[in-house]
Amino acid sequence: MKPICTSRFDRLIENLSRTAAQRLSRRSFLSHCGTWLVAASAIPLLPVSRQAQASDNPHKPKAAGKFASEFANHAQTTDPTKCNYWRYCSSDGYMCACCGGGPSTCPPGTSPSPTSWVGSCINPDDGKTYLIAYRDCCGQDSCGRCSCLGQEGDMPSYRPQVNNDIVWCFGASSMVYHCSSAGLVGLVE
């Protein structure tokens, strides 16, 4: 058959398409498609792919035993919706980053408590210690997402100023706890 297309490239594509249409049945085409789909999904299982992912994975925990803090040894600095986010070393509750807010901001409809308790966490990327204000966001029912339990420096409730089981909504317009934020306060010398 004489090709319809005039451009050389289009003619090549046309020829390929026509040849394929004449030689291959639709069922054959579907079976080939299936094979490729299965093959493609299997690629991430191969060791090469996993190695590449591991070397560039931002959530990859750092080498164990590097810091004095057990939490920091497995912490990451990129995803505040994960419990191993470095600022959550002493945070107990639902993380605001999963509730429509950020790691240091309250979700809409809630207000930050004027009081908080201050802890310190090691940043696994630079190894420095930062002070973190654990401030509860109050005024709505419990968020219920991203329940994390960091207990570094946490003391029993008879030392309430350093206890993270207590709802820290003192002085807020409502004592109803929604989620916990972790704002940066300062860098320790």
Partner: protein, 189 residues
């Protein structure tokens, strides 16, 4: 950033799109590059501070002691909700009499704080000079470790002690009126 990468196998589909939206894509790429250049560099390796460009200076030791032990309730500026006594512009008055000076260290959350005598002395001197320098007596002598060690052993009747000291300051004309050291409830100290 490359605004448009045209896969060679799909020229018929992508080329018209590129032609139509190419200018918009270029503008978007330029804008995002400019935004990346405008964000100031942060010194905190963290997903959020990379966007906000937060820069934290190392904190003096005494400021860290305040942040970890007092700031959660008393606030970063020494002013908080009504339930928490204000420090800023007030505590210096107490240092005007020996009784008041003693009281500042014997307040339970100072005296019973887990920090060492040396840390408490450093914290109190920093606190008075940072938040209430104007109210300090001109001949104010900084607290020494030994003085703190001795003072914090005593257990006082806090609210009654405070009332008596405020009355004394008023009689000695060390405060303009009792209001400058007033608390919203008589049980507060």
């Amino acid at each position: 950033m490359t605004p448009a990468i045209v896969p060679s196998a799909l020229p018929g589909v992508v080329a018209p799109l590129t032609a139509r939206y190419g200018v918009a894509m270029l503008l978007w790429a330029a804008a995002s590059t400019a935004q990346a250049q405008n964000a100031p560099a942060t010194n905190v390796p963290d997903a959020i501070t990379r966007k906000t460009g937060l820069h934290l200076e190392p904190m003096p030791r005494a400021a860290r002691l305040y942040a970890e032990n007092c700031q959660g309730c008393h606030g970063p500026t020494g002013v908080s909700v009504t339930e928490i006594p204000t420090l800023a512009g007030r505590i210096g008055y107490f240092a005007r009499t020996p009784e008041g000076r003693r009281y500042l260290v014997q307040v339970p959350n100072v005296a019973l704080n887990p920090s060492s005598d040396q840390d408490i002395a450093e914290l109190m001197n920093w606190l008075l000079n940072t938040y209430s320098r104007a109210e300090l007596p001109k001949d104010f002598q900084p607290y020494s470790t030994e003085e703190v060690a001795l003072l914090r052993k005593a257990r006082i009747d806090v609210a009654a002690d405070r009332r008596r000291i405020v009355e004394q300051l008023l009689v000695l004309e060390q405060i303009p009126s009792a209001d400058v050291l007033a608390t919203p409830h008589s049980s507060l100290y």
